[in-house]
Each structure stands twice: as structure tokens, then as C-alpha cells.
Assembly symmetry: C2
DNA sequence: ACAGAAACTGCACTCAGTGAAATAGTGCAT
DNA sequence: ATGCACTATTTCACTGAGTGCAGTTTCTGT
């Protein structure tokens, strides 16, 4: 599980090929890629303020209503992160905790999440350009995942013991996302893939960088 | 500087009293408190989904347009954080770096920011209730400060040396805000004031809690 | 081929947020 | 006190995000 991203990138051995997927699911994904790409292109051309849902939908060849059937907000389409991913991540965290205990689980899951970023080189380059042009987007990148964060805190808290389990869980999740956000920015700035950027930043974090 | 919050709480010795402030500035603040209180009350009564800017403005006795002259978004009025605070914080960080170097500066400034939370006990209690009822609001609490975060990164990065200064600065700021967010949640959950909650969470952080 | 499910669409609607121009209220000068 | 300059507030009109609903199209399993 947790294998596919919106553009069909696969991080597990269970490849759901186009045949096994069915035409319906296939079109759904093509539609999503089209919208995501359209969103990135329009931001690239007209800036973040110059993009409207109507324009995105039109370029992607769907109605604006359909747009909102796929993406919760305009920003999520630009970033390319589906809300549904959230549930997967929280579920994956629960599973990993059962397997190996709560200690390394959060790292593993966030690392997996980072590594599952889209691999289409053209989209990657486009996204990088857009991110460089519109720094405001960085904060959206993991900002959409509010509900995931709280869910992860709950999952993690029930695996910890002690009175202040919830507080420690929350701190852990917040720190984890802090690292992830930084990794995201670094990967965009330096053209790295998210996975190695994550390892990079995590190394800094483990050094106990005295800046904070 | 960095002395006043929206409700007149003061964290420095230069008290601007009501006389020295002038009628204009005084009314402005009363208006802001009225809007903030109205926002909290309505969320408390009708839930987060049942609050509209029109309702807030009406209860506070102002027009909706005036509402947006004071608050950048609906959420910022509920949380009670002014956008203007952001510039103050970044400026304060720059000042503190010049005084004591980049190392402890970030902590100090965030701690000061945390301690400058509103002190009106009635509003505090109301806010606590609202936060307990609507957990979604937690993420808004420091989420509005996107522009501040990026500005702080810039300020901090130019004080650090080395090639990866920007990346280290970003990690530091992200970690700092992770702690601040957690402290905010803890203070709301346990009824502590933000300052001591911040120290509490920071202690956990310094222990190198192995959860993350 | 056909029935049921799922996705797409058009329409009407609410509400957040902005710009501009008119108006009212404050502060300061004489 | 009164007029002048400045600033906040208001009114109005508007754009655009997001949602609910009902009807149509497109796919899937049999």
C-alpha cells in the first residue's frame, strides 16, 4: 500500500498497471495530472495571483465543478497533493508502529512519504520553476495536511505511555513536519529529489544544530 | 518595542497609556477587541462552520469592510493575531542577533512572542473553550505567520556563515515554530500561560526526545 | 445488451476578500 | 471655537473560491 501518487509513480512492487486499473481509474488520473499540470503552467505564466480555478479547469478540459471533485482547494492542485493521501499516511503510521514500535515509525513514514513524490521529470522541473518564482507556495506544501497531522498525533499518542503522551506525540509530529518542510524547500532549491533531501536535513537535525 | 498586543497587554516598560495614545488609537483597539471577542463568541455558539465575517462585524458594531481593514482573514480575527506583529517579530530577531549573536536569538524572540499573549482572563478562558471545541483552529494559530517565517529565515541566514546557511536557518525556524505550535496547544489544553508552556515544551525538545 | 455505480456537468447559491469613492470622526493649527 | 488636514469608516459593486443538488454521461460487471 501507500504505493501510488497522483501521477502514477510507484514505490512498491505491486505495480497496478493500466490494464489492471480499469479505464475509469485511468481517466481519473489523467484528469488529475492534466489539472495539476495546467495549474503549474498558469502559475508559471501569470504568477500566483493570476491563476483562477476556472482557467485551470478550462485548460485541463474539465468543468470547474469537476475540479473541486478532485481537489479540495486551488492550492492543493498546484502543489499536487491529494487529501486522500492523508488517510493513507496515518494508516501507514499505525501499521508501522505495530510492526516496529513507536520510536522510529514516524521517521520511516515521513521518509516514505517524501520519497513517494512525483517522478515525472517534466513536471518536476516545472514545479521547481514555479516554487522558485512563488515562495509563498512553500508553506502550502505541507500546510494542507493539517488533518493528517492531528490524526498522526492521535495515532502516535496512543502508542506512547505516560501522562504527557499526547504532548510528546504532538511535539514529535511537529518536529517531523518541520524537517519535512525544510527538506521540501531544500529539494526545490537544489534540485535534489525529496528522499535524499530529507536524509540531508535529518542529518542536520540529528547533529543537534545549535541554531535552535 | 514589540511591546503591545492587540488587547493592550504590555511587555515592556514604555507603557503607552490611554491618554498618551489618543482617542483615535484607543478606539481602534477597542474595535479590535470587540471583533476578536465577537469572533470567539460566535465560534463558541455556532461552531467554526457557523461563523461569518458579516456576523462578526455586526456583533462588533462595524461594517464588514472595516473588519477587513483590521484583520487580513477571518481566521486571524478568531486567533487574535495581527499581521503587523509579524514585522515586529522579524525586526526584533534582527536586533537580538546584533546584540547576542545568532545562536540563542531565535529562542529568545519566540519565547518573548509567546509570553506576549493576551492577558485578559475572560478572553483567555473563552479562547481556551473555543480551541478545545474546534481543534482545527490550532493549525491556524501560527499558520498565519507564513510571511514572518520566511522573513525570519532571511534574517537568520545572513547572520550564519557557511554555504548551507539558508538551509540551516530554515531548519532552525521550522523547528522553532514547531515548538511554538506545540506550546500553544499545550497551553490551551492545560490552561497554562503560553510562556511557561513554551519553557515546558522546550525542555522536552532539549532532552532530545527520541520519538522523533 | 443491460442495470447499477461512479464520474462529469450546469446551475444557483453563499461567503471571503478587494478596490474605489463618499462620508464621518480626530487631531492640530490658529 | 473654527477651519483644515488626516485617517478611519462606510457603502457599493465586484471577483473568485467553494458547495449542494439534480440531471446526464461514461464506465463496469454480468
Amino acid at each position: 500500500m501507500l504505493c501510488r501518487t497522483y501521477d502514477g509513480a510507484v514505490t512498491d512492487e505491486n505495480h497496478p498497471t493500466e490494464e489492471t486499473l480499469g479505464l475509469r481509474e485511468l481517466k481519473k488520473r489523467q484528469s488529475r495530472i492534466a489539472m495539476h499540470r495546467a495549474a503549474l503552467e498558469i502559475v508559471n505564466e501569470h504568477g500566483l495571483a493570476g491563476v483562477t480555478v476556472e482557467a485551470i479547469a478550462h485548460r485541463a478540459g474539465v468543468s470547474t465543478r469537476t475540479f473541486f471533485n478532485h481537489w479540495a482547494t486551488k492550492e492543493s492542485a498546484i502543489i499536487g497533493v491529494l487529501g486522500a493521501n492523508g488517510d493513507e499516511i496515518a494508516g501507514r503510521l499505525r501499521q508501522k508502529i505495530q510492526e516496529t514500535g513507536p520510536l522510529g515509525a514516524l521517521r520511516t513514514v515521513l521518509r516514505e512519504f517524501a520519497a513517494s513524490a512525483p517522478v515525472d521529470p517534466e513536471l518536476r522541473e516545472l514545479k521547481k520553476q514555479v516554487m522558485a518564482k512563488e515562495p509563498r507556495l512553500h508553506s502550502y506544501s505541507t500546510g494542507n495536511l493539517r488533518s493528517v497531522q492531528t490524526e498522526m498525533v492521535v495515532v502516535l499518542a496512543e502508542a506512547l505511555e505516560g501522562e504527557d503522551a499526547h504532548e510528546r506525540a504532538m511535539l514529535a509530529v511537529q518536529l517531523g513536519f518541520a524537517v519535512t518542510r525544510t527538506a521540501f524547500a531544500a529539494s526545490m532549491a537544489r534540485g535534489l529529489d525529496l528522499g535524499t533531501a530529507f536524509d540531508d536535513v535529518l542529518a542536520h537535525y540529528d547533529e543537534g544544530d545549535p541554531v535552535f
